[in-house]
Amino acid sequence: MNKKYWQSFGELNQTDAFRKETENEFKEELLPVEELSKEGLLEGKTPRRDFLKYLGFSTAAAALAASCEMPVKKAIPYVQKPDNLIPGVPNYYASTYINGGDAISVVVKQRDGRPIKIEGNEMSGLTKGGTSARAQASVLDLYDTIRLRHPLQRDGKGFKEVSTFEAFDKMVGDALASLGGKQVVLLTSTINSPSTLQLINEFLAKYPGSRHVQYDGVSYSGMLLANEACYGKRALPSYHFDKAKTIVSLSADFLGTWLSPVEFSSQYAETRRVKGKNPNISRHIQFESMLSLTGSNADDRFTHKPSETGAIALALLAKLGGGVSAPAISDARLAKGIDQAAAALMASKGESLVVCGSNDMNIQVVVNAINEVIGANGNTINWAVTSNYRKGIDADLEKLSADISAGTVGAVLLYDCNPVYTHANGKKLGDLLAGLPVTVSFSPTLNETAERCKYIIPHHHWLESWGDAEPKSGYFSMIQPLINPLFKTRAFQDSLLKWSGNASDYHNYLKSFWVTKLGSEDLWNKALQDGVVEAAVAAAPAIFNAGAVTTSASALSSAKSGNIEVVLYEKVSMGDGSQANNPWLQELPDPVSKVTWDNYAMISPELAKTLLGIDVYNNQKQADTYEVTPEKPVIKVTVAGKSIELPALILPGLNPSTIAIALGYGRESANPEHSKDRVGRSATGAGKNAFPMAVFNGSTVVYNAVASAEKTGNVYPLAQTQVHGSSEGRPVIYETSLSDYSKEPGNVLKHPREERELLLVDGKTDFVKDATIYPDHVKPGIKWGMSIDLNTCTGCSACVVACTAENNVSVVGKIQVQRAHEMHWLRIDRYFTGDKQNPDVVFQPMLCQHCDNAPCENVCPVAATNHSSEGLNQMTYNRCIGTRYCANNCPYKVRRFNWLDYTGSDSFADNQEPLRGTDLDDSVFQMNEDLTRMVLNPDVTVRARGVIEKCSFCVQRLQESKLESKKNQDPSIVRNVKTACMQACPTHAISFGNVNDKESDVYKIRNVDQKDRTFYVLEQLHVLPNVSYLAKIRNTDRQLGHHDEEHHEEKKGAPAKAHA
C-alpha cells in the first residue's frame, strides 16, 4: 500500500463531513426537476407547472433568439498598413518586465498592435526563458481601468486634469524654481536601469542640494549593510544555486519571492533534475517559521520561532567551527537539524550555500561568516557580478522623513514606489508629504502615495516604454514599447529630461547611450532584437573582514522572544502589493495555503488548539466545523500596540508559536470611498494591510515581531481552492528517497506497475490494448503528450497565470471561488504527507490528462467532448449543453463549468447586473470592461455561460505549429511547439511534444531517460492519460514512499471504492 497523501484535515482524519463532500461532488441546487425522482411528477413541491414554466421560457428564448436579424459587421482596413504587420499574424518583440527592482527578460506576443501575452526570453542567461506569475500577469495591468488617463493637479480635496504636458512642465518648473534653496529629493524604488541612473545624476546636478533616495517596499537593507560590514561593498552578490550540492536556507523563500526567484528557480532545478542511473541531486535543508514555497520543496525542513533565526545562524556557525558561542537550542528536533545541516555543508565544502531571508543586519553578518567557512565565497557566491535587484536602505527613508519634519526638504518627486502603503508608518509619511510645497508623483495610478501629492504625471506601463535594466552587473536587458501609450502619459525619464533642460527625448537619449556603449547602431538594433546583452565574467570572491561577526553575535544572543510571534512574508502572487489590482493574481491560489483573494493569519494546528480551541487532529467535529465552510474564525493580532484582525488559517508545518501574515493586501485609499476608483475594484476589500506590523529596529526594518493574539468571535470567509477536487484516497503521487532510488530505481513505481498487471488476463502483455474492452484507436501521425517532473516543479504557479492569459480563462471572483466555481484549466495540487507536525509537501500540476480512454467522452449525451486522432481530448463549447456528466465522470476533476456569465458573452444581454454583489464580484465586471478585454487572445473562444471547459493542450499553438510545419514542408518544426504552461515554467519541469516522434523530448523522457520514474496518475483505471509525471526523489535520510505507520489506512474505505 502506498504512503498517505492528504490535502485537508478532513481528508487526513477521514471525517464524516469530508466523506459526505466527496460523495456529493456538486453541491449546487439543480433545476427543480431533481426533486421529481422522489415524489413523482405531480406530487413534488415543484410540480408540473414549474416544469412548464421552464419549458415555456426556453421556447420563448429560442424563438426570440431565432428572430434576431443578422447584424451588419464592418471590415475596416488600415489607411496605410505598417510594413511589419499582417492583420491576424502575431509579432514577437523582446522586452523586459520591470517592477521595483525586479527585471525579467521577456518576449511579448503582439497581435494586431496589442500586446496580449508575455513569454520568457530564452536568450537570457539569468532566467533562461522562465517567468513568474507576476510577470505573466503584468500584461493585464496595461489594460487596467484605474490607470490615470492624463496628468493631474491637486484642486482642493480632489484633482483636476492638466490639459497639456507643456502646462504641467511650466507648473512644476516654476514650483521647483521657487523652493528657496530647500532640498529636492527624488524618491524611487530600486533603479537598475543604467541610462536612467545617468539621467537622474544629470537631473540632480541641475538642482544643487538634491538627492536620490531608493526605497523598497520589502527591504533587503540588512544584507546590503552586512555586506558593507563584511566585504566593504554595499551590494548584493550573485548566488549560484546551480553550483551548490548543499543548500541551507534560513527562512529565505528563494524559489518564491526572495530577491530573484525566477533566476534561482532555474538554477535550483539544475541541481534537482534526476539524470542517469546514479543521479546526483542537491540536498536542500530549510529552517523557517512558516511554511513557505521554498520550504515546501526542501528535502528536510525544521521550524523555529521567528526570533530564533539569529540563534540558529549562530549555532550553525558554531557547529562549523566559526569560533562563536551560540545560545542553546531547546528544541531537540531543531538541534538535530542544525547538526545535519552543518554536517552536510561541510561535506560539500566549496559547493555549499547558505542564504537567509532575514532583514536583520546582524543575522546576515553571521550568515556571511558561515558562507566564508563553507567556502561559498567565490564559488556559490560570486562577487565579480553583483545583483542590482534591491538597493534601498531603510535608514535613508527614515532620514528623509526626519528632514521633511525638520523643514529642510522642499520637494519630493516619487517614482515607482508607494511608501504611504508599504511603510510601517505610512499614514504619517503621507501627512508629511501632503504638507510639502512641491510633491510630484509619476505613479500610473492614483495610489495611496500619489493621492497625497500635488502634481501627478503618470508614467507609462512598461509595455509602452523605452528603457533598459541591469539586474546583475554586466547583464543588460532592453525594454522597447509594444504599443503606443494608451493614455496621455509620459515616461518618467522624459519628464526628468525636460526638467533638467535637456531637449532630447528619452528614446533618443537611450539610443545614443547604448550606441556609445555598444559601438554601433547595428549592435543597438541587435540588442533590441535579442532583448539582452550579456558578458561572461569569471566568478571571484571578495575579501572577508571578520571584524563585525563578534558584535553581531553578541547582539543576536540577546534576541527578544515571545510566546506568540508574527512573521510577515510575501506571496508569489502579490509580492509587495504593487500589482494588487490584478484579478489574475488575486484569483491565483497561493501555492501553499490555496487561498485566493485575501491574506489571513496562518497558524499551526497546535496554536489553533490553544488560541481557538479547535483541535483539527483529534476532534473530528471541530475539524469539520472549521474546515467545511469558508467562514474562518477571526483573530486579533497585536504588535507594539498596532492591531489587525484577520481570519485564521490552520496549516500544518508551521512553528507552534508563529502567526504568518502576507504583505501586499489591504490596499485602501485615504478616503475609502475612492478606493474602488483609485486602488481598483479587485484590490479593494482583498485582505488587510500588514505593513504597519513591520518594525524599524534602528538600522533596518525587520519583518518579524513579538505579538499577542486573541480570538474575536467573528468569522470571515476565505475562498480556498484546495479541497475542490479530491482523489478520494487513490494514490496520485509517488516519491522515494535518493538513496533508495539509486539502489533500485524500479522500486518507486512497483505498486502501480503491479496494479497494471492485475488488469491483464490470460498471459496478455500489452496494457494499452489488452487490458480493456474498448478498441485501440491508432494515432497515425502525431500523438501529443506531456511529461511533468515532480522533482523540478516548485509550485511557483507561473504556469497557472500563463494558462489564464493564453486561454482567456475567466476570473470568477471571490464569491464564486467559495462555491468551488473557479475556472483555472491548470491547478497546482498541494499534498501533505508523512509526519503531521512536520509534513512533507508535494506539488502536482493537474490539468486535463487527455486520456485516450477518456471517461468523460463516453458519458456526453451530445458528443461535445470526443477524441482526436492526435490524442487530444477535444471540448466543443458550441455543442455542449451543460449536463456536467463529463465533469462528474472525470477522475482528475479538471473540467470546469461556467455557472454564470463571467465573460458577458452570453446571448442574453445584461444578465450579469442582477447578480452584482450577491453572486458576481466587482472584479468580474472589471474583467469585462472594453479596455480590459483588449487582453483577450483572439484565437481562443470566449466561453459563454452553461458550458464545460478545460485544458486543450493549447491546441491553438499546436495547430499553428503544424501549419508552420506544413508550409515549410518540414515535420521537425512541430518539435518547437510549447504550451503556455511549459513556456512560462522557470524550471522547465514540463516537456511536451509528439510521442510518435522518437526524437522528441517527451518520447525520450518516457522511454529512455526517465523510464523508471514515469507514471500516469490513476493509471490502473485504464483511462490511458497523455500526461505522464516523473516520481519525486528527495535527497534525505528519512524513509519515503513506503507504507508507514499511518493507522488511517484501515479506517478509510475509499480505495475499495476506487476500483468499483
Partner: protein, 426 residues
Amino acid sequence: MSRYRKIINRIFASCLFLLLVSVQNNVKAADGEALWKANCANCHKPDADYTGPALKGWRDRVPNEEWIYKWVANPAAMIATDAYAKSVFEKWKPTVMTGFSNLKKEEVDAIMKYVDDYQPPAPKTAAGGGAAAPETDNSLLFGILTLVLAVVAFILLQVNSNLRKLSDEKEGVLRGEPVPFYRNKAYIMAGILVLFGIGGYYTINGAIGLGRQKDYQPEQPIYYSHKVHAGVNQINCLYCHGGAQDGKHANIPSVNVCMNCHMAVNEYKGDPIVKEDGTPVDGTAEIQKLYSYAGWNPKTKQYNPDNNNDGIPDGARPIEWVKIHNLPDHVYFNHSQHVKVGKQNCQTCHGNIQEMGEVYQFSDLSMGWCINCHRESKVDFFNKETGEGNKFYSIYEKFHNDIKNHKLDSVTVEKIGGTECQKCHY
C-alpha cells in the same frame, strides 16, 4: 378500446404508406438535378464553359460512353493514361477536376441524363405574354390528389362508423351517441400530429438557416467591381489579399494598396458597369471616392499634407467595408492553411469572384459545407518513393504502408483528422 386500436392502426398504416410514397418520389425526382447541384455545379454549366467545359453534347466528344465513369472516378489517373483526357487537360490546365470516386454508376448516369435533358430557362417574356409556359411542377397536382384522397378516407371512415352504429343498434348493443368528428379524439390527435410535423419541419429548417447569409450582397461604400479588377484586368487575387497566404485573414487591402495603381489610373474607360438591378455605375466617380478616402488630391496629383501629425494625409480615413463572409466567433478558419498548404483556388469557396460586380456570398459557409469538402479533398500526401508531395506528411507511417499495400489510394483531409471538432473549434 378495440375501436381506437383499429383507428390507430389505420392511421399508422396510411402514414407509413404516405412516407413510402414520398420517399420513393424523392429518389426519382431529385436524383439527377440534386446530384448535379451538389457535385458538379461549382465548376460546370451544362450549356456554357465555366471553370470546366460545358457538358452538353459530351456523348459526341468522348471516345466511348464508358469513358465518363472512369474520368469522374479519377481524372488525374486518366490524364496520365488516356489521350482524350490529356487533350481536355491541355485545354483547361492547370485546373484539374476533382475525382468523385464516391459517385455510383447510376448516379453518374442520372447526372449525365440531367445534362442531356437540360433546357436553358426560357427568357422571361414581357408581362401579359399569352403563351403559358408548360407546367413542369407537379407538386400542386400531388397536393390536390392527397387532399382528395384524404377527404375520401375521411368519408369512408365516417361511413364505416355509421354502419357500425347501425349494426350495433341492430344487434342491440348499447352505445352512446356518436361523437361528432371535430370532437373525436382520434381526429384531433391526427390533426395535431400533422400540424406538429409541418411546424417542426419549418422550425428546424428556419433554425438551421439561422445566421447563414448565402447570397448576401450588401451595398459597399465604394462600388468596387471584382469583375473589372480580377476579371478584365487579371489582377492576381493575392496582390490585394496577400494575407490569404500568410495568415488566417485574407484581409481587405488597406487604402495605400489601392493607391499603388490608382495614383495613375484615375478614370474608368472599360465597358459600362451595370448593377444587377440595372442601375448604371460611374466607374470614374467611384475612383474619386477612393481619392477622398486616401486623402489624395487628384488635381495636384499629390497626397494632402499631414498637418495634424497623425502619420497619414489630412482627410484620409479608412474605408468601412461591409463584411460579407462572417463566421461565428467559435469557428477558427485560416486562409493560409487552405491557400498555401491545401492549394485551393479562391473560387472554390468564393465562387467566380472574377465575374462579380459587387461581391456576394457564394457558399453558405455552413459546417456541413466545410465538412463535405474536407471529406472529398485530398492532401498533397508525401510519396516516399518519388519524394513528391508535402514532406510534413512523411510522419504518417501507417498511411504510407496502406498505400504501398494498395489498401488506400489517396489520403483525404478527413483521414488526417480534418473533420475533428478541434481542428476548427477552440
